[in-house]
């Protein structure tokens, strides 16, 4: 199994709340993809040489009965995502994928708490689907700045045993951060594993809460990325200390990530407090 490059037809593009969802016919990517992995997209035949844009995989339909599709969700934040938001069915997108290390599922069925911030929630739906197949209980915590930026809360409600919403402005769910209800939820659900995806400060905070509760936590990071294949060294994350040199090792999130153990990342180097293990 290795990543491929596919020229993929757009099956559908639709709005999902404040975000855009793009479904691509990508059978060779779809047959291999694991939750937490990403695809690296290049739209159209733009001669101005745009870089690819990385997106975690939101949903997969395996080839066979279905066409073999991969869906991503994104926010229009610049020229690249604007171009992707203008794609129409039958347009062609150049896809590299599936890239990166996926989430590792629990060895035995256990309760899993899935924590997502904004469109960072996207890979957690694919993950939840797989965890359900593995007979794991899934509880969702989804947060965003405001109600319109909560990604697919209905889908989370359908896939999970419970759904807790938080918004910065209190326009939906409880006012505050995703980490606010986390301690209670860990205690109440007895979850044996936390999975999180979202902005770095959120991932740092989730890692801290999980570590304090003694629950293992995997986080999927989003760093600025050029190649997605390990050759540009842009998307690095500090991961502890390497050998006798005492240097922090800068791990490429496209190869060693985007999923890391929450305790593996040297959060202090990124300006966030380190997780402290439970006593």
């Amino acid at each position: 199994m290795s990543p491929v490059r596919e020229r993929c037809e757009v099956l559908e593009r639709r709005r999902v709340g404040a975000y855009q969802a793009l479904t691509l016919v990508a059978p060779r990517v779809a047959e291999q993809a694991r939750p937490g992995q990403f695809v690296h997209l290049l739209a159209g035949e733009d001669r101005s040489f745009p870089l690819r844009r990385p997106f975690s995989i939101h949903r997969v339909e395996r080839p066979g009965a279905a066409l073999g599709t991969v869906e991503v969700v994104f926010d229009v934040v610049g020229a690249g995502t604007l171009a992707l938001s203008r794609l129409r069915p039958h347009d062609v997108v150049d896809v590299l994928g599936p890239l990166g290390r996926p989430f590792t599922p629990p060895a035995a069925p256990t309760g899993c708490l899935l924590v997502g911030g904004g469109y960072g929630t996207a890979p957690l739906f694919f993950l939840a689907t797989e965890l359900r197949v593995r007979r794991c209980r899934v509880d969702f915590v989804i947060g965003a700045a405001s109600a319109g930026r909560l990604l697919d809360a209905m889908e989370a409600k359908r896939l999970g045993h419970s759904l807790t919403l938080t918004t910065d402005d209190g326009s939906a769910g409880r006012r505050g951060q995703v980490t606010d209800p986390l301690g209670d939820l860990l205690a109440r659900t007895g979850a044996g594993q936390v999975y999180a995806c979202g902005p770095m400060p959120m991932l740092a905070a989730v890692s801290r809460v999980a570590a304090a509760a003694g629950v293992p936590c995997q986080v999927a990071v989003e760093e600025q990325m050029a190649c997605g294949t390990g050759i540009c060294f842009s998307c690095v994350v500090p991961v502890g200390v390497e050998g006798p040199t005492g240097l922090t090792r800068m791990a490429r999130s496209c190869l060693e990530g985007p999923v890391f153990e929450g305790t593996a990342i040297a959060w202090a180097e990124l300006g966030h407090p380190e997780p402290e293990p439970s006593r």
Partner: protein, 305 residues
Amino acid sequence: MNLSVDLCGVRLRTPVLAASGCFGFGREMAGWVDLAALGGVVTKSVSLEPRRGRPTPRMAETPSGMLNAIGLQNPGVEAFCAGDLRFLADAGATVVASLVGRNPEEFGRLAARLDGEPGLALIELNLSCPNVEHRGEVFATDPAAAAEVVRAVKRATGTPVLAKLTADVTDLVAVARAVTDAGADGLTLINTLLGMAVDTRTRRPRLAAVTGGLSGPAIRPVAVRCVWQVAQALPGMPIVGTGGVVSAEDAAELLLVGATAVAVGTGSFINPRAVVEVADGLERYLATHGVGSPAELPALFKAER
């Protein structure tokens, strides 16, 4: 068609190499290309001790190109020799090891360490990385400093040496002549250009390192000018042309103005098979134009418009 060329006495399968800093240490790409089929793999620059590089963000997209400030992250020469170099040699790649040091002595020690390593075809001296702590480490901004590095390396190794220069100078030919006189076997032209971009929303630099190296098609005309200028001034000096090559036509452009070979850099970030596809396209270009080999292209250049 036989695409092979002679670069400083080394036979390359094609005149298209993977440029330093844009192909990792080569092994990352083993799943995407046949490393042995490439003209060569110029590795990411290697220093005596490991370097962790700069904080993120390390890259920013710019019109037809990108800025990077990676900061020469590498595992150090010992780990490089034990791991990456051995892997490349076993894969049958033509290896060009890119070296970076803080002074001529460090360059000399690196060259000595690599001398005789199996699989090593050429050495490239990174005299021009803009992402260093002090501009004094950009040796290629000063003819005397650049020449001193080349002399230190030539004393330490019998492997042919390419000096990679920057276009960020007033008189590139003077630097090229100085390193040639010091014994460089060939030149690589050009490194990234020092640049900067500002996020007007946050009013902060877009790179953590503030400034970075500009690469991609945005700098190709500068590369073409530099290769042309130096090839005119130093006829017969082998030149690896690099800067924004993403297609066979881009490669042909550099070969026409006097390059012996070209290196694909940022192009590999968008297309992991770019090095292969540029070579394949070059073969078609030569066939279409009735040219027997890449080495014939410089003589076919018509200097006047």
